[in-house]
Each structure stands twice: as C-alpha cells, then as structure tokens.
Symmetry: C2
Subunit: 500 residues, 2 copies
C-alpha cells in the first residue's frame, strides 16, 4: 500500500505579508460570489471538514475563513462528547442532524473523523488488526460521503499537520497564557507525548478514507497565512463545484476592478493610506473585539448564554455589525440565524416556536439577523397577520425574553436606525455595484414605500418591549463604523454586567 506520509506535507512554505495581502482580496471576492451563487441556485450544499493534529491551527483556520464569508448562511459545528440523546442513537445520527440544506455551507470541526481517530488511537495491536477494527467505521464514512456526493453535497476535507517541535512549542505557548490555557486539553497533551503514534494513526485514517468522491487535502499548518489561503482555496473550489458552470461564469464576468472588502480589516491589514480616523476605528474595533473574546472565555460565561437581536430597516448595516461580533468569537461558540418568511412547517406551529428552537446552550451565542419582532414589524405593516394576533405578540415577547433572562441568558437587542436618505444612498450604491446588487431585492424597494408605517411600528415595538430584563439599544447607523463600535461596546457592557 503506497501510503502518503504526513511529514511530507511539511514543505516549510511561508507567505510574505505582501504575497498574502495580494492574494487574499481576490480569493475573498471569489468566495463571496460563489457563496452567493450557491444560495441562489439552492441546488447543492457544501460541507467543509477541518481535521488536524493538535495545535496545527484548526480553530484558527476556521475562524479566519469564516471571516471571509457571509456568516448568515454558514453553520459551524464542533462535536464534543455525545449528549444523552446522541448516545441513545447509532453513531452517525449526530452528523445527520447537522447536514446543511441545499444552498448552504456547513463547516465541521473534525466532523466524523474525530471518532475514527479516537478509535485508531485506542487500538493496541498490529496495523493489520487496526485495519480490521476500523473496517466498519471507515465503510460507514465512505458510504456517507459517497451518498452525499451523489446527492449533490460537495464534501471538502482538509487535514492540517505540523512537526512535533511546532506542536510542542505552540501548546507550551498556549499553556503559558492565562487567557489561552483552557484551550489545551489533557487529550492534546497526551497526543503531543505520543506524536509518532498519533501520526501513524492519522495516516491510517486519512488513507482509508481518501476516495474520489471526497479526497483529502493535506495542508502544512506551520505558517498561519499559508494554511488559511490553502483551506480558503479548497473551499472556493468546493463552492464553485457546487454551482453550475454558467452561474460561476456569470459572476466572474461581472467582477469589477476594485472590490469593496466586506470583511474585517485588522489594523495590520489596513491599507497604508488609511486616514487618522480609519486607524482610530481599526484600533478601537480591535480593542472591543478583544474584550468580547476575553469575556466569552471567562469561566462564568459558561453559566450564561447570549441572545443578540438585530432589527432595522433594510440596508441599516445589520450584517456588517454581526460580522464584527462573530470575528471576535470562536466559530464553535455562535450561530447566526437569518430570519425570513416562515416555512409552511413553521406556520403550522405557534410563531415563537422557531425562535425557541434556536436558543443557544450555555456558553454560546445565537445572533438573530431579524427576529421574532417581525411579528410586530413586517407582519403588522404588510398586513400579514390579523391585528389581534400581532397586538398580543408584545406581551408574548416580553414573557419569552423574561424566561431567557431568568435562565441567565443575556438578551441584547439592537435597532439600527438608518435615515431615509442614507438608505436611498445605500440602495443606489448597491445597484451600481454589480457585486452588491444581489443585496437589494424588489421587496426592499417596496418596503421603502412603507417607511413611515415601519417607523411607527418600530416606535411601538420599542415602547412596548423595552424591559428591565431585555433592553433595546437604538444605534444611529448612518455612520457604519460608529454603529459597529457602539454595538460591540454595548454587547460587551451587557455581558460584563451579567458576569459580575
């Protein structure tokens, strides 16, 4: 058996900052396009599985790549020890539960490979016996991946590797810092001590599950920028494979010379010509994100959870503000839930049901991009719900949020207040920019005609649902940057208050 050896992947390839900064914007643009097309066509779905030896940078890569995407249509799943419900069912049950619907992308930390590797590591005996022991688990995986491929699910699998020296150094560095110590588990340390054994087991697992429907990409995890671009490119390829050629060509042709970046710029990435106020913004953004990151890792945070609600007129900047939050968090710690018209199945149940079902477990965030307040906004204004029903929703919502509060969930609600003029400006800008044109749909122009009715509805909403346990924060949003900073500041304050 001509098995690939993992150490061969350690090419020592490093990127200069210049190379990275040159490559990234193009890749980002293509990824956003491809993600948009994926969603539009809704014919296929993409699964990205990120595996790796401990300290090879799995979480970092996922967080980085996630920052380049529209987080509204991505879910990130980690798999810790099985829950009661999972233990009761066959092993693959928990993975079936998280398969994304067509049109979406899901990123799985380790995915179904975590259990496989565990089994390989627990094995004591010959390589041949190991092969026999893993036969069925491998069969299950290959069968699932083949079925997914045939069903229109593109499965991209990347595995990150580093040398034993790099691994040891990184784990030591993480353990040395108080804020990062929690990230090094006993399991990591055990695996570090048994590096060669782990490497052999990984090689076995990777080799056994490398098949044409879902081949492995092995990536050198030594250089942070190199590995991020490699994983990003593999994901781009998967996203493009998942959309018909015609669609990809269509957007490719539409690409303009200059692409407005939709992602967080860290201070170091900022263009050299940044103005003083831009630099100030970047610094403040980074500070607030850092604070949020630390708060979310405090021990007491594990006793709470966060539900953040974003409401506001179209083009108020909800998506941009949400991306500034998620960039600060661990990808396994949050879900962004975009809310649009309910499905028939959702309509068959009480309207709060679909929000209840999305509540985060302790230690996690759920961020709602629009929310249950649709009941007293769009459903009221566009007369989708009888008056008596949306009227009673105020009390129902207050009670709902009160129950969250009683359970220790921090409920933070933002109304991004954009002016009518600024909205028009943004619509027009989007219309002019082929890459943003998809962000405005005819419905948005229709909603604009109901501006005054929406404003009235929003005022009533805030007046009736601004309670001690779930305050509204009205954020002036004509200045995007100030709005984002205020959102991050408020969120941090509210979490801090809850933890103290």
């Amino acid at each position: 058996m001509a098995r690939r050896r993992l150490h061969e992947v350690l090419s020592g390839r490093r990127l200069t900052r210049l190379e990275y900064e040159h490559a990234l914007p193009v890749l980002q643009g293509q990824m956003l396009d491809a993600q948009f097309e994926l969603r539009q066509e809704a014919a296929r779905a993409v699964l990205l599985i990120v595996s790796g030896i401990p300290a090879a940078g799995r979480s970092e890569v996922v967080n980085e790549v996630l920052g380049w995407l529209d987080p509204k249509f991505v879910t990130v799943q980690g798999f810790k020890t099985c829950s009661d419900a999972e233990r009761e069912r066959p092993p693959m049950w928990r993975f079936w539960r998280v398969l994304p619907p067509r049109g979406r992308l899901a990123i799985l930390h380790g995915g179904w490979y975590q259990d496989l590797l565990q089994q390989a590591l627990e094995h004591e005996g010959s390589a041949k016996q190991l092969g026999a022991r893993l036969q069925r688990p491998v069969e299950r995986i290959v069968q699932l991946e083949r079925m997914l491929a045939q069903d229109g699910f593109t499965v991209a699998k990347v595995h990150l590797h580093v040398s034993p020296e790099t691994q040891r150094k990184r784990l030591e560095k993480l353990r040395a810092e108080k804020t990062t110590r929690w990230r090094v588990t006993a399991e990591d340390r055990r695996m570090c001590r048994r590096y060669r054994e782990v490497e052999r087991a990984l090689e076995h697992c990777l080799d056994a599950t490398d098949h044409p429907s879902a081949p492995w990409l092995l990536v050198d995890g030594t250089d942070a920028q190199h590995r991020a671009l490699e994983v990003g490119r593999r994901l781009l390829q998967a996203l493009q494979a998942a959309t018909p050629v015609a669609a990809v060509a269509r957007t490719a042709g539409a690409r303009p010379g200059r692409r407005p970046s939709l992602v967080r710029k860290s201070a170091s990435q900022a263009a050299p010509a940044a103005t003083a106020s831009e630099q100030q913004y970047d610094r403040e953004l980074e500070r607030l994100q850092g604070r949020l990151a630390l708060l979310s890792r405090r021990k007491r945070f594990a006793q709470h959870a966060v539900v953040a609600v974003f409401e506001g007129m179209d083009a108020a900047g909800k998506g941009g503000a949400i991306r500034r939050i998620t960039a600060a968090l661990d990808a396994r710690q949050f879900h962004v839930v975009p809310i649009s018209a309910p499905s028939p199945e959702e309509l068959a149940r009480p309207y709060l049901g679909r929000f209840w079902s999305q509540l985060p477990p302790r230690g996690n965030y759920t961020i709602f991009d629009r929310s249950w307040y649709g009941r007293v906004l769009v459903e009221r204004v566009r007369r989708l719900t009888p008056t008596r029903d949306w009227r009673r929703a105020y009390d129902e919502i207050v009670e709902f949020e009160r129950q969250l509060d009683e359970h220790g969930v921090v409920v933070v609600k933002f109304w991004l207040a954009v002016s009518r003029e600024e909205q028009l400006e943004r619509f027009n800008e989007r219309d002019r920019n082929p890459l943003k044109r998809f962000k405005v749909d005819p419905e948005d122009w229709a909603n604009r005609k109901h501006w005054d009715a929406y404003r009235r509805a929003a005022q009533d909403m805030i007046a009736r649902t601004d309670t001690r346990h779930a305050r509204w924060t009205v954020v002036p949003a004509d200045d995007k940057r100030q709005a984002r900073l205020q959102v991050l500041r408020t969120l941090g304050d509210r979490i801090e208050a809850a933890l103290d």
Copy 2:
C-alpha cells in the same frame, strides 16, 4: 379564596359493563370523526394534558384513549428527568419542542405540571410563601396556555384523583407482581406516604392554573371505565372545539346506524354473537399482545430499540396492523410516523435524513407507516426520482439498516401482500361507507392503475434489501386477522431473539 377540594371529586361513580359498552362505540365513532376533521382542516391543534396523583390511572387512561384514536396522527410525550440539551435551556424549552403542528393531537403525560407539582412538594413553609414561590412558574404556564388558545391550540387538561386507600392498595398490588413492580417508583411511594401534603400541593397547583383558556377537569380515577369515558369525552369536546361547526355537523349528519369498530376488541368486549373463529382470534390476539408487552418491559429491552416498517399496497391493512401493536405498548414507549410526500425542507436534505431524525432512543419503538422504501416504490413507479438516484438507494438503505442493527436496534420490515381483487373490494367498501370514505383518495385509484409496476418494484425491493440484519416478512393480507396475528408473532419472535 374558594378553592375546590380534591376529595370532593371522589363521587364513587362506577359504570356497569352494560353502561360502558353502550357508551363506548358512540364516543369512539365521534372521536375518530373529530380527529379526521381536525386533520382535514389543519387549522387548529389539540393538546391533552393528563395529570394525576400517583396510582390514579394516568398511563392506563392514556393507553385506553389512544386505542380509540387513529395513532398515526397522535403523539404521546412523557417527560422524565431533563436531558443535557434540556438543562442547558430555559425550563419551557422542552415543551415548545413537542407542540404538535396544526391538524394534530398531542397527549402529554403530566406536561408542564410535573415540574410545578415537584416545586410545590419541595416547599417547606406557609401556604402564602408557597404562593410567592410558585408565582413565576404559574405565570409562565398560564401565559403559554393563553397564547396557545389564542393561536388556535385547544388545551384540554384533566387531573385524576383517588383516595389514599385506593392509592395504597393499587401501589401494593403493582409491587406484588414481578411484571409490574418497575412501575412503582421511589417517588410514588414517598408521595403515597405524604398523601395529605401531596393533595394540598396539588390543590394549590390546580387552583392557580385554572383559567378560562384552559380549565381543569377533575376526574375520579377510582373506576377504570368511568375515568376513561370522562377523559375521552373531554378529549372529544376539545377535538370538536378545534374544528369549525360546519365540519362537525357534516360528519354528524353522515353517521350511519351501525358503526364498524376500528379498535381492538378484547375478548370480554366481543359481541355475544361472536363466532368460534372470532373468539379464537381474540384470544390469540390477546396472547400475542401480552407477550409483546412483557418483552418490551424486560430489563434487557432497555438496551435495544425497535424500528418497525410497514409497506404494502393501499388498503393492505397497514394501519390496522399497527394499531394491534400499539395497543400492547405503553403510550410513552412508541411513536407512529406516517410517511407521505416530503416537505420542501425535507427535500433540501438527503432523503434518508427525515428517517434518521425519527429513530427511537433505547427502550423505544418507532413504527413507520410507509418508510424510506418509498424511494424505490412510489418514487420509482411514478417517476418522481431519476433512475440513477433510486437505483443507488438500495445500497444506501442496506447500509442505513446495518447501522441500526449494529447499534442494537431490532429492524422488522413487513410487506402486507393484498391481492388486486381484495384491494378493489376494500376500496368499494370504503366508498360505500361514508365513515371510511376519507380513507380512499383519488391518488389511490391512480396507484391502482400502476399495480404491475408496483408489484415489480416491490419484488426488486425485497430481493435487494432483504439482509441478515434487516429481514423482510411478506404477510399475506387478504385475511386481515391472520395478517395481524402474523405481524404480532413475527415482531415478538424478532425481539425475543434479540434479547436472548
């Protein structure tokens, strides 16, 4: 506060067999009609909450009433201790998850009252302090029930009561028998010793949550027949309240003089004019159901689970056979899942997903009335799926069932083989009988035209998916009784083999 005292409900009312046998068929007929209308209108849903002091007959009543309904469209939920996922969320989360969609009926054992009663019992202090302590839990409940009522969910709440003597006698009797001892928990015995305290706490809880949107019905649980009819009548009322008056009137007018019973007749209930063969059938049915009941309560059964699949031409008798199984089981132990055309959300995911999501936890049954085999039956015959997709489904199904088997799930698959002539006879009989007419829809006649194609598809299906770990049993179904007996016999044999 003019509180009702629970002991006042103990009227000592008993029914003679004659009274019961006179009342039951009429009630059953009305309930089936009302349930059918509920489903057709799909405008409202019904929740029946069954509460009671220990040994008042809660489970017995639920099982009894369930036997009068079409179990395909009813779910029964018990609430044991919280799972991990439930503990992570606010207390009402687990109830929101089980709310039925419009058109359905859900029966909740204890429902949200179990926790409330628990809190009341744990309280040590004055009645006034108890009131303060329960204020928020009561508010949550009343608010939920009021919202449900306004949203078109009829909530029927019944509470069963018995005297301390009856309670003690029943618990002693259950403990004396090996096969029923498991039913008496330490909690039951503790509550039995504290009868008066429990009674006071119950009175407090019932009183606090008795409101016009969802009033309590207090029922004397002393006589089994009396309590079953009382609960059945309350449920009928709820079902009828949930359907527009016109619809109820329509079926009421259509009712014929003699109503064919759709439910299990126990030997004692059989009409005196039963023939020898009928009596023999009844005896054998009861024996096989008893055996299944005992098997399902064996200690080792808790390490397994059962997935039963029913396939067959229209009118082959799938529903009737399923009802004979469920009549033998505890209502909290099984779910019947009727499978029809997939929803858009289900179509957006791999087709096996909706079956994976219904797998039972250990110690439970899931009974599929039609199943994943639709992929290679109706989807093949009616050309709903491309050939390459249904062709590969054979292997995917074999792998799926193998994973169930590996996890200790007993997979039992029945093909009920009815002849073309018998099917026609049954269609015609249903057409003649206004109460059964709803069971034949135009689609059934269309399917009949494809008889030969279905037969070929069924033959291929059985040939390709009859595996060691998931055998098919072909049941000649022209004789309904023999078919039901064979189903029960096979199911019992398969479970017994798995447990030994």
